[in-house]
Assembly symmetry: C2
Homo-oligomer: 221 residues x 2
């Protein structure tokens, strides 16, 4: 039987960042197994599916507690709940989206946040024409209303989908408004206070990782 579920904030102060991203992969795979009716799994099964060793799966989880059953493995539903607790996604998170261009609209239309505990609760743009009406049921506002709306709706995360030259000022405004975490899609490094977390997603960089790998493959053309 597992210990009491971990509550967010309990995590040991020094967990390697790589561990946290694997946790997300474990979660995704466990949810997949559950959908297929599989009730338990083991560190070697889970590792095999994702390309990690059984030892790594167990070590990663051990940073946060003991969630398995010796001789049995892990109950998928228990481990899902445990990992959600660790990642902080047992609660729902409201998100602000800034920038209602092509990418912004795609993010607004993306189903797939929902079942992971995320919801875009407001979208902002500085162009009045783009925020004239709700998009995919998400209310839209002028960027200048962000401080008020973020406070009212208790929004803590934001997605920045504006052109690169505006990303830093938008980030500053969001931080000012009380946002604690930002995913930045603009291809520029932005700086935020140490109290704010940031994740950068840059498509060109992902593609460069790919070309490097392709060009340096052992052999195949």
């Amino acid at each position: 039987m597992p210990e009491s579920l971990p509550s967010p904030g309990d995590s040991p102060s020094q967990v390697p960042p790589a561990v946290v991203s694997r946790l997300s992969l474990y979660l995704r795979e466990l949810q997949h197994l559950l959908r297929n009716g599989q009730e338990t799994t083991s560190s070697s099964d889970l590792g095999d599916r994702l390309g990690f060793s059984d030892a790594q799966v167990r070590k990663d989880l051990a940073y946060f507690g003991t969630f398995g059953h010796p001789g049995i493995g892990y109950r998928c539903d228990e481990l899902v709940a445990a990992i959600k607790g660790i990642l902080g996604t047992h609660q729902d998170w409201r998100i602000a989206l800034v920038g209602v261009g092509n990418l912004g609209r795609a993010l607004l239309g993306y189903r797939g946040f929902g079942n992971q505990g995320f919801r875009i609760a407001a979208a902002f743009d500085s162009d009045p024409a783009k925020v004239a009406q709700p998009i995919d049921d998400v209310p839209t506002y002028l960027l200048s209303d962000a401080p008020r709306i973020v406070a009212e709706k208790e929004i803590r995360l934001a997605l920045i989908a504006v052109p690169a030259p505006f990303a830093q000022e938008v980030a500053d405004l969001l931080v000012q408004a009380g946002v604690h975490g930002i995913v930045n899609f603009a291809p520029v490094t932005i700086s935020v206070p140490k109290t704010v977390s940031i994740v950068e997603v840059d498509l060109a960089i992902e593609l460069e990782q790919l070309t490097f790998a392709v060009v340096n493959k052992p052999k195949s053309g």
Copy 2:
């Protein structure tokens, strides 16, 4: 004066993956410096801007050759050319996009590939209605035409932007058609032969990394 430019494929067989992703960040920052008229930089300047140590910048570059000038630093244009050579983006890459939904259309409309050496040369979907006409000047085709079009246009990279349940079969088809590298936006782990490179981009996972960081911040609410 730098050695001859590295040509793709020259890279030492064992370069840590983290080094390659920093290389992309160096490139992005160097291009930013160039646009601002800055002709040279140093490992400590570059490191400061991105949050790395000067030693790390120099060590990363040393995996691939010597590109700096002792006492002077690095000429931005030389280093840009060198890094593009390493990453393989000195040449242009043609890309296939599969899945013309919300995300697919956003990717088609994304300006920002272009100046990094990438171009979406064809878009595919299995719904005839979605591929009735070009989108943002990109020709669209039925997915079943992918093998022929990929060969004709000498496409080597692909973006998968289809719903999760279809991602694996689309990947299989693309590999069959001769694609060497895939960026997968579907929230599912897909497997490809060892000769094919893959990069996974999952928005929910990025957000989970963020909530973990937010929930575990030293202190701030």
